[in-house]
Symmetry: C2
Subunit: 387 residues, 2 copies
């Protein structure tokens, strides 16, 4: 298997981009990544996206985007795994290069969730859950996460404001990210006073509905030197990647408070990379809701069962903390354009590992981990990148 | 790169399966393929599907199906490339095995297009075209193909009934396929008298809206012997596979009467396999409309420009003809459950190459080619399989 490296990254701003259609947002990210990589064409374009069919009446998305970016005669396909679509597309990009089928692959994460005429974004997000056994009964996606959070608080006797530190950290970091949807810090007071969406999840526990696209360029590590001549910034290696599934419906899960798929995918990734959790310098986790941050930290070896919430303070997860998380704002502050999120995480990890993260630079970052979650923990994909 | 082989195939009947939900149809195909392969688990499940988001309000489909089939802790993702979704999923399955990431991969093609409450299947199919520049103006997918066919007939002075032989051949073969949606032969008279859908496309030029699922099991060729002991039927090698894109909108194409992407993907596949078109023993082409059969034959080296329609007779394309096509009924008679079609083609090619095609067996079939088309020629994927 050939080793795979990233030689270019690009992203669009995240937000309610009412003046731009999906293809234009995609072009912003793809052209930035191609320019960052110094390439003018590619062998393949794989697009992580969840909702273009439901919200935009547009399938065949990868071929549409490829053409809009001027790429013809190449391989193009869309990859969907709910909110883990971005990392799922990266997995295929890595396989395409690792196998030797392609030498230059662009992986794009793309989502347009706002300004969708006559469509219901909440109903769209519910398609990540089981349509016949969950969504049919009217439970929304935030509702499912609220049930999990409620149970967690009950089981481990955790007060609601114990989660505030995750959101405060995310916004503190997002304030320095020019691509973030929210670039203002928040306080404990604003967390506590935030309106409740689905008890106990409040507005500050929850990532926003938004639009965005992020892209990376992959090449075989053995060919990196050909591409990174002159003023090129260098490259970052994809050291490991693994995906695992669990039951789609939360009610089918043996233990709804443990992310089995996170544990499996993280352990596979650690084994591939030959590292232990404590070797990771920062962790871009899937903080779609604060409860998911706690559960992810527990399942991947950074906290004991029921104690992930105890890490919600700067000494643990801040930029200069023990394990920096959501270093560019995470899903909460940078935003969560669902199918794009997994690729934003990769882009941000690459910025950290190439010392291009600006004010949020994690010092001496050599190993970065990302984790992208689809549904309420049903598809979990972990990647480990190395400077 | 590791060579990849198919050791199991399975399919559900194709039709209006009103009594079965998508997951049940999927289970039929997956369990049949696993049983045919003699395996009890897998490392990954990739699902080619186009319309589950639009028509079933169900994304996250691969994880749903994996769980319903009892497969947990594995990699699962859905792949979408309009009507080429099935072959696109196979591409990723092959890459996963070829790269060494996985040893046993199930590739499923799945579509549920009928009995979709409150949804519009015609609008769903139009999502394969450009939503903002084609579908928005009200042109349906069959309408786009009708424009191409009209132009072809004008440009090359071809009478409408010249295409009848494609449909007659498909139905003749489908009559012997127990999984086919239509198992009755048709006559020239029934073709000529068929109601017109979009001039000049009539009901007999067009493949049906239907449900179905097909699956294959992939392993590295070097490990085939471990799996094919005892009464196992053997294996078929995936000799080559390539995908190419063209403009999504037909009106953007330099020449709407030439399938550029078919030519590119076929030539790449021939080169990978080290063969010429005349070495192919049969060809499962994408006869969603008769015009696509003609264009596909022209672009892949079997007929000259403007002369593909001349092959629409038994001596050319029948089971005992020069180049048998649609040997188990093709999209026209077996049916066209869009995201599943590409995998049905592979399953049928494997049946031919393992001498399990029954009454439709192509004699001495050693090399089979399949071609799956997304949109009106915007994504075209060619595979070559070897006995």
């Amino acid at each position: 298997m050939r080793s795979v490296s990233i030689i270019g990254v690009g992203q669009s701003p995240v937000g309610e981009l009412w003046d731009r259609s999906a293809r234009e947002i995609a072009y912003t990210a793809v052209s930035a990544a191609m320019s960052d990589a110094g390439i003018e064409t590619a062998d393949a374009l794989f697009v992580g996206n969840m909702l273009s069919g439901s919200l935009l009446d547009q399938e065949h998305l990868a071929t549409l985007v490829a053409g809009y970016c001027g790429l013809y005669g190449i391989e193009a396909a869309k990859v969907e795994a709910a909110c883990a679509s971005g990392a799922a597309a990266l997995r295929f990009g890595v396989m395409a290069v690792a196998s030797g089928f392609h030498d230059v692959v662009i992986v794009l994460g793309l989502e347009k969730m706002t300004d969708t005429v006559g469509k219901d974004t909440t109903a769209g997000l519910a398609t990540a859950s089981d349509a016949e056994y969950e969504a049919l009964h009217g439970v929304s996606f935030v509702g499912l996460n609220a049930l999990v959070m409620q149970r967690y608080m009950h089981e481990y006797d955790v007060p609601i404001d114990a989660f505030a530190g995750f959101s405060i950290n995310a916004h503190r970091n997002g304030a320095n990210n020019p691509y973030a949807m929210f670039q203002s810090p928040i306080s404990l007071k604003s967390y506590v006073n935030a309106p409740v969406i689905a008890t106990p999840i409040n507005m500050m526990d929850s990532s926003p509905v938004c639009d965005g696209a992020a892209a990376v360029v992959l090449v075989p590590t053995e060919r990196v030197r050909q591409f990174t001549t002159g003023h090129h910034w260098g490259s970052v290696r994809v050291l490991a990647g693994a995906s695992a599934n669990d039951t789609l419906a939360v009610h089918d899960r043996r233990d709804p408070l443990f992310l089995q798929a996170a544990q499996i995918s993280a352990e596979k990734a650690y084994a591939q990379a030959g590292i232990r959790p404590q070797d990771v310098d920062f962790f871009e986790l899937h903080d779609a809701f604060t409860i998911m941050s706690a559960l992810s930290l527990e399942a991947t070896g950074f906290a004991k069962r029921g104690e992930g919430w105890r890490m919600a303070h700067p000494e643990a997860i801040g930029i200069n903390g023990e394990l920096p998380i959501s270093t560019m704002g995470g899903l909460k502050s940078r935003g969560h354009p669902v199918g794009a999120t997994g690729v934003y995480q990769i882009v941000e990890a690459v910025l950290q590992l190439s010392e291009r993260a600006g004010a949020n630079q994690v010092r001496n970052a050599r190993l970065g981990m990302t984790q992208n979650i689809g549904g309420s923990g049903a598809t979990i994909i972990t990647h480990i990148l190395a400077a």
